[in-house]
Amino acid sequence: MNLMTDTKLQQALETSVDDKTDELIKMQGRKVTVHYGYKQALFDIDLDIRENQVTALIGPSGCGKSTFLRCLNRMNDTIAGAKVGGMITLDSENIYDPRIDVVELRARVGMVFQKPNPFPKSIFENVAYGPRIHGLARNKADLQAIVESSLKKAALWNEVKDRIHEPGTGLSGGQQQRLCIARAIAVSPEVILMDEPCSALDPIATAKVEELIDELKQNYTIVIVTHSMQQAARVSQRTAMFHLGYLVEEGPTEKMFTNPDDKRTQDYITGRFG
């Protein structure tokens, strides 16, 4: 990891993104590069993530959007041979700083994966997992309250309240994914990263998860990787287009889908390549 010095950090922060708004910037990526072994997967990505908004990352397969997402909570650390360069901040703090504890970071920046991956435990234990390891509940009643509110926020409570102690793996795909979202919420993160959360779900389950994402943005900052243009258009406020490891362009979703600056964005959105 080649970390930038503090002076470079200042310079980087000054080179702000195009349209100035009063929205708070939650996370900021500057000159982010990623190497997997000798292969470079990301080239100098500059991208801002705004607070309480949904940012969609789009682009054809292998363009690096998932790689960038995984940089945001340092999940790339778990991949042998992955090297991250440049700088990413969370509330103006460099998350690749050696002083940052990666466990604490991941508690603040939660993640929901492409394929629902509930632990082979009960629904309750799945949600209680995070609060338990972070010691968020003082007693049993506390823990129950956290589990219940998380499941409610994930719009799953009504469906599972009668079988909360049954295995989470017994739920349907869509329910499993919402369980994973509840599990992420239970740690009270500030940012939730979602890596194609609906790609393994049917349209009805997808609609439910999208609805949920829309509600969640009131309390959380959300970054979502998606292959579905419609989904990006439906749920996100801002969209970033990746191509071959480069950030093509980034802007308000409406503008990106109606009047993009770059021809590649237009081609991709209208389905001419991808």
Partner: protein, 488 residues
């Protein structure tokens, strides 16, 4: 001409048929009709037709003719053989058989003027390097010669028949080549049956072993009651003096079973935690580079013959522990040189690679998504392992431990050398105890006759051991299989 030459001839015919058939089939390609099978399938089909029936005939014929010859010898043996200097009829039979084999080695000239007394024949045979039992009687010589003659004639007939069958098969295979002939399907069918036969061999052998042990066990239970065997607490078989079967000892299984389980328990106590932790290290923490060195090194431990572990326990560890305990108490050692602890500990070391290698496979099989899910929630690596990976892998690990336990129960060489031979019941791990396997070895070493309970008990012990380990393996495989389905 021994049968093996006929087999070689048959295979040669098969190869010739293969070449001809392939050529013939290749020539037909130019025809208007599309060929059903490629030429080499026609070749192989002709080869199989030429060889398989002929070789089967040779096998059946050989078995049949040897039975027939034995019957003939039996019929020719004089009735009073039982009262003669030779103890039993079966012994006489085998003596004639040996003699017949020996006569085969003599050249034609010697055979033509064979001496009629064994005294004269013996030095001639000795010249050829054949030593025969001095019990062989004069009257056996003509019987043996006659038997050889019959045997040779039968062999010749069988061999010629096989050759004819082989040629007929080859001819049929070559004649039946036509563009639409389904040689490929035929060959595939034969391959399938061949593979089935191979797998049947393993199963049939197992059944054969179990049955033979069962019969000997029943024989044993005719002199010792099963109740005394399975629930007896005293193991005192006495010695089996040749011919004297009056001294029946006590054959209590309990002390042996207790010793077996106790030592296996100590071994698992050593092997399971260490093996499991090394598996966790290799699967979760080790970098690919470290893993590529440590894993083969650990598995090298599994390649050390168990007798070497036994020697280590007997020569090094046992005396060391005894001296250590003597030094600790100031004179009297409380750890015996051969003890449950020594044997169990060394066996545990032997089993570490078994546990770690099996568990490593199981832990690596836990989907990466589960790990990512846990890490993504801010769990540390060890929390992830403790709370997600190990619980998910638990059924498989239990299966692995059961497989290891059955290895520990069946282990022989280490306990023979390190556990001692004293069959007793004790809870002190620093004393000697013995196991089922040790007693099987003890009862079967030396000059023995296989009709006294002292030796037959080995079969009863063997089948008990077999039943215990089989049960554990079945349970283990059931658990492991059930666990595998979980992620599909």
């Amino acid at each position: 001409m021994p049968m093996i030459y006929y087999v070689i001839l048959v295979i040669s015919i098969g190869i010739v048929a293969l070449v001809i058939a392939r050529r013939r089939a290749a020539l037909q390609i130019q025809g208007a009709v599309k060929q059903h099978s490629r030429p080499h399938y026609h070749g192989w089909w002709a080869f199989l037709l030429a060889t398989v029936p002929a070789i089967l005939l040779i096998i059946v014929w050989s078995i049949g003719s040897s039975i027939y010859v034995e019957r003939r010898i039996d019929a020719q043996l004089p009735q009073q053989a039982a009262d003669g200097p030779i103890a039993s009829r079966s012994l006489a039979l085998s003596l004639v058989g040996r003699l017949a084999d020996a006569l085969h080695r003599l050249d034609a000239e010697t055979l033509a003027n064979l001496p009629s007394s064994f005294e004269e024949l013996r030095p001639k045979l000795a010249e050829k390097g054949v030593a025969l039992a001095p019990d062989t009687q004069d009257y056996m010589i003509p019987i043996a010669v006659e038997a050889n003659r019959t045997g040779d004639a039968l062999q010749m007939t069988g061999g010629v028949l096989a050759l004819l069958l082989s040629i007929a098969g080859a001819a049929y295979g070559i004649r039946s080549i036509q563009p639409r002939a389904r040689a490929r399907n035929n060959v595939e069918r034969v391959v399938r049956w061949g593979l089935l036969a191979s797998s049947m061999i393993a199963i049939l052998t197992t059944i054969g072993i179990v049955l033979s042990m069962l019969f000997e066990t029943f024989y044993f239970f005719s002199s010792v009651s099963p109740l005394d065997f399975f629930f007896g607490t005293v193991w005192d078989p006495r010695f089996a003096a040749a011919g004297a079967t009056d001294s029946v000892g006590q054959f209590g299984l309990i002390p042996l079973l207790a010793g077996t389980l106790y030592i296996a328990f100590i071994a698992l106590l050593v092997a399971v935690p260490i093996g499991l932790m090394s598996a966790v290290y290799m699967a979760e923490y080790a970098s690919p580079h470290v893993r590529s060195i440590v894993k083969p090194a650990l598995e090298l431990l599994a390649g050390i013959p168990t007798i070497v572990y036994g020697i280590f326990a007997l020569v090094t560890l046992g005396p060391f522990l005894r001296d250590l305990s003597a030094a600790l108490t100031g004179g009297s050692p409380f750890i015996q040189a051969q003890s449950i602890f020594t044997a169990g500990f060394v066996m545990g070391i032997m089993l570490i690679p078994v546990v770690s290698s099996l568990s490593d496979d199981i832990i690596t099989a836990v989907p990466r998504a589960l790990r990512d899910g846990s890490l993504g929630l801010g769990a540390t690596r060890s929390e992830t392992i403790k709370r997600v990976v190990l619980p998910a892998a638990l059924p498989g690990i239990v299966g692995a431990i059961l497989l290891t336990a059955s290895r520990a129960i069946g282990e022989t060489m280490i306990v023979v050398l390190a556990a001692g031979v004293a069959a007793r019941l004790t809870l002190n791990p620093f004393e000697a105890m013995t196991t089922i396997t040790v007693k099987i070895v003890n009862q079967l070493t030396g000059d023995l006759e296989f009709n006294s309970p002292q030796t037959l008990v080995a079969f009863a012990l063997g089948i008990t051991l077999f039943a215990v380990t089989l049960l554990m393996n079945i349970v283990a495989l059931y658990i492991v299989r059930k666990y595998r389905e979980q992620y599909e």
